[in-house]
Amino acid sequence: MGPLTDKRDSRGFTLIEVMVTLFVAAIAIAGYIGSNIATQRQAAELHERAIAAQEAQRVIEQIRDKAGTNNFPGDVVAAFPNGGTVAGMNALPNEQIRVDYVNPAATPLDTTVTVTWQSHASRQQTAALRAYITKRKMP
């Protein structure tokens, strides 16, 4: 009698063994897919952040345009009041842009532009850009 004729050794897998194998495989695949989804979500968030930086940069450029005046920083603060919001910027959902100055009478003008928006994960996100605005020769 060789060992292969032993009935007990050639029975195959039991139901429990198969189920455990499937369970472990399912966990592994779920982990792989989950990490893919997380990466995608992170990329989308990064993209929103890049757009927010771009929007803040646009507002800084609009503020710089008001700095070409003999009434500095008066004209800048009049066009972009301290703590006020900037209208017409809507590259992101529920986007709001706020302008703050450390001291609205100082030269150069220490300016912070804060962008707030609703991210795709419906979380509130914020990005801020800080710049010094100086007086420019009048065009």
Partner: protein, 182 residues
């Protein structure tokens, strides 16, 4: 001989079934990795696209900033721009103002391969260069006349070798340039 007969192993049906099942499993795993590598290729080209178009728009912003109100003309329904920048060797005239007589005239417009490249032309020297690739649309607008703030908007999209367009809707980038010279 009797001993050999008892060492039977699998029969043909069993072996075929096993091969068929394992081929399904291997195919599934292969598919999973192919989707993964395709996705990473898409992400890679998306990143390159964002990078190069942002670089291009900043190049344009930097140069337009050197112009002045009254020296910027937006042409062809906003699809191209013509503006003057001071010549680096003749920045200032005898009256210590910007020397606009020796200034260079620069144009930006779509052209080149499939009309999807931003072409910069220095019409004073006749030199042309490519600012960005894979641009599907380019628009310029101004806030007032004469323009003080130029808004540049570009759409970018790339078609991969698989025929897939990345991203599926063109990516839009906007920047504003305040013409700063007096």
């Amino acid at each position: 001989m009797k001993k050999l007969a008892s060492q039977k192993g699998f029969n043909l049906v069993e072996a075929m079934l096993a091969v068929a099942l394992s081929s399904v499993v291997v195919f599934g795993v292969f598919l999973l990795f192919r989707v993964g590598s395709e996705q990473s290729q898409i992400n890679q080209s998306l990143m390159n696209l964002k990078d190069s178009s942002r670089e291009g728009i900043y190049k344009m912003v930097q140069e337009i900033r050197q112009s002045a109100p009254g020296h910027v003309i937006i042409e062809a329904n906003g699809q191209s721009i013509r503006f003057k920048i001071p010549h680096p060797d003749h920045l200032i005239g005898p009256d210590f103002d910007v020397d606009w007589d020796s200034a260079h005239t620069i144009t930006y417009t779509l052209g080149g391969t499939n009309s999807r490249q931003i072409i910069r032309t220095d019409t004073t020297t006749g030199m042309t260069s490519i600012i960005a690739n894979d641009i599907t649309a380019l628009r310029f607008s101004e806030n007032s006349s004469p323009s003080r703030i130029v808004t540049i908007t570009l759409d970018t999209q790339k078609t991969l070798s698989s025929g897939r367009a990345v991203p599926s809707t063109p990516l839009q980038i906007t920047a504003q340039a305040d013409v700063r010279n007096p």
